[in-house]
Amino acid sequence: MHIDPRLLLPVALTLALLGCRPDEEVEPEPTPVTTGTLRVVVVPKWEGGPFTMNAEYVNVSNYRIKVEALKFYWGDVHLLNGTSSTLVKDVELFNLQSGSAEATWTVSPGTWSGMHLGLGVPQAMNDADPINYPPGHPLDLANGTYWSWATAYRFLLFDGRYDLDGSGTGALLQPFSMHTGLNDVYREFDLDFGGDVTVSAGNTTTLTIHMAVDKLFYSATDTLDLALENQSHGTNMPLALELTDNAIHSFSLE
């Protein structure tokens, strides 16, 4: 068969151009989702009701108080299921300056009955050089939680002011400023969910935890009297430990 050579060029061009259509989108094999998300929301409360930063309350000692700063670290957070325990977060910072604070953690699917965690920064991280933590990390210096003098982090910062007259109406002028820290103050505790919490692959489960700010001023056995104890910055260890214990007992599941 004779083919007119003049036809060869357009045919070849057509073939070449047609061959250059975009590659077919090859659907990648879907990667199976093997983890879920646990969203932890810490909500400050006052005597079971709403709590607002910078608003006035009357505390257990019948003092008028207002809180101006409240932030804390959780360390080595483990989810518990019977006898098993899974580390889900090494350190997290919760800053309640604007009300609730939250964190989201990637966790293995499972059913969990509680958490085991520490109030503070675990020793290995607390002793490390803070400049090594990158921007955005809970231990980033920009968070203003580092104690240069102690070369360690503050674990809980609780600042505000008070008036000893619970029925007074004037401005609150007396400051309280209680910061805990140092490895000796790190305390581990359990937080029972009061039931099972399930995290499934590819889904987000929200865990709402209340922090009873009113309970920071008392425990079952003692009262933190602001008239006598209102400053703690690492050198007042008894007050730091008292506040730490009060804080541990202030957490509960919604």
Binding site: P5, R6, L8, L9, V11, A12, L13, L15, A16, L17, G19, C20, D23, N54, E68, A69, P130, I131, N132, Y133, P134, P135, G136, D140, L141, A142, G144, Y146, W147, S148, W149, T151, D159, G160, R161, A171, L172, L173, P175, F176, S177, E229, N230, Q231, S232, H233, G234, T235, N236, P238, L239
Partner: protein, 372 residues
């Protein structure tokens, strides 16, 4: 060669070339880091006692961007009458403050009401201006140009003047891939330049890095800054210190917590500070903590430049400050003060002088480069 053979060879060539062009795009290498779209990536050297620098993903350092920002920082055409630049009120020889002036005077002869802040290590800050009203350096840079008591120019006019200068469009092309200038790109370039202004070689830095032994007076001053104030007999935890560390922490090299505080300057406020921005009662009288770096060069002090000397500043803190509903809880000795001795005050002064970094002040890379 026969014509038919030529045609067949041509056909073969076209098909081969066509097929070669159809290689899989997925073979292309994927960059692992976000690189600038234009310009030459610039790695800024961070002192060993500093943390990593947070750099906005949309404004990475480039050689060309920093170079452009330097020209713009000193370009007086950003002002309404072409007489003031950023550098007019932020001069390198005084750690980028305004030559000892309490308040700066704008192009119309109007005096401001706040002291010009030092521009040092701003890359690590998270709020800008004394009242903290801007949260990024790029946002902050936009404001003074249009402020009627400062440079008093409209951005379209300022941009028009830059666009008309044949030297600038190529520089914007090199830095950002466009010759069309706008305020966003101007702010990004200046922000890149300002982020390179890192002070990290004072005597105190060298002490922190273990390469300098302080004098005894300096050492005592360093210790005082990290001790709690107050009489331990009156308040648990008191250590007779100067109590500086809460707001001016040493770690990380910034010498500021970068946060907003009311440090007890007044019981009633003529300048509301952050409260003037947020309207919140708790923000009244709160101002951003300035860095202590190069503080010996940056008089006068406080947001309103009320103190002329470091001695006056220390006397203020020693007094305990004036009580008010928003005074910071860290200012806990409004009654009785810190009771620092004259010796302790001198030790603190010695420490503050340790923070002077002449390498920063004299760095040729920060000086006015002249016309673009």
């Amino acid at each position: 060669m026969k014509r038919r053979t030529i045609h067949l060879l041509a056909l073969l060539s076209i098909v081969v070339v066509g097929l070669q062009a159809c290689r899989h795009d997925t073979d292309d290498p994927v960059p692992e880091v976000i690189a600038p779209s234009f310009g030459t990536p610039l790695e800024v050297i961070i002192p060993a006692n500093f943390p990593a620098m947070p750099i906005p993903p949309n404004n990475p350092f480039t050689v060309e961007g920093v170079d452009l920002g330097r020209f713009l920082f000193y370009d007086e055409r950003l002002s309404g009458n072409n007489t003031q630049s950023c550098g007019s009120c932020h001069a390198p020889e005084v750690a980028f403050t305004d030559h000892g002036n309490q308040f700066s005077v704008g192009i119309d002869g109007i005096q401001g009401n706040r002291n010009s802040m030092a521009l040092i290590n701003l890359a690590w800050d998270t709020r800008y201006f004394w009242d903290g009203r801007r949260l990024t350096l790029e946002e902050q840079i936009l404001d003074p140009v249009e402020n009627p008591i400062e440079m008093h120019e409209m951005w379209p006019n300022a941009v028009g003047k830059l666009q008309a200068d044949p030297a600038y469009p190529p520089k914007f092309q090199a830095a950002f891939g466009t010759t069309t200038i706008d305020s966003v790109l101007v702010a990004r370039a200046i922000a890149q330049f300002v982020r390179t202004m890192i002070s990290g070689n004072s005597r105190f830095d060298r002490f922190q890095r273990g390469t300098l032994v302080p004098t005894v007076e300096e050492q005592l001053g360093i210790q005082l800054t990290e001790l709690e104030g107050g009489n331990p007999a009156l308040g648990l935890g008191g250590q007779w210190g100067a109590d500086c560390f809460h707001c001016h922490p040493h770690a990380g090299g910034r010498m500021t917590d970068g946060l907003l505080h009311n440090n007890g300057l007044d019981s009633e406020f003529t300048d509301l500070g952050a409260g003037g921005v947020t309207g919140l009662p708790e923000d009244m009288g709160r101002f951003k903590t300035p860095t202590l770096r190069n503080v010996a060069l940056t008089a006068p002090y406080m947001h309103d430049g009320r103190f002329q000397t470091l001695e006056e500043v220390i006397d203020h803190y020693d007094s305990g400050g004036h009580p008010s509903p928003t005074i910071d809880p860290f200012m806990k000795y409004t009654q009785g003060g810190l009771q620092l001795s004259a010796d302790k005050k001198q030790q603190l002064i010695a420490f503050l002088h340790m923070l002077t970094d002449m390498d920063f002040v004299n760095n040729p890379a920060f000086q006015d480069p002249g016309p673009p």
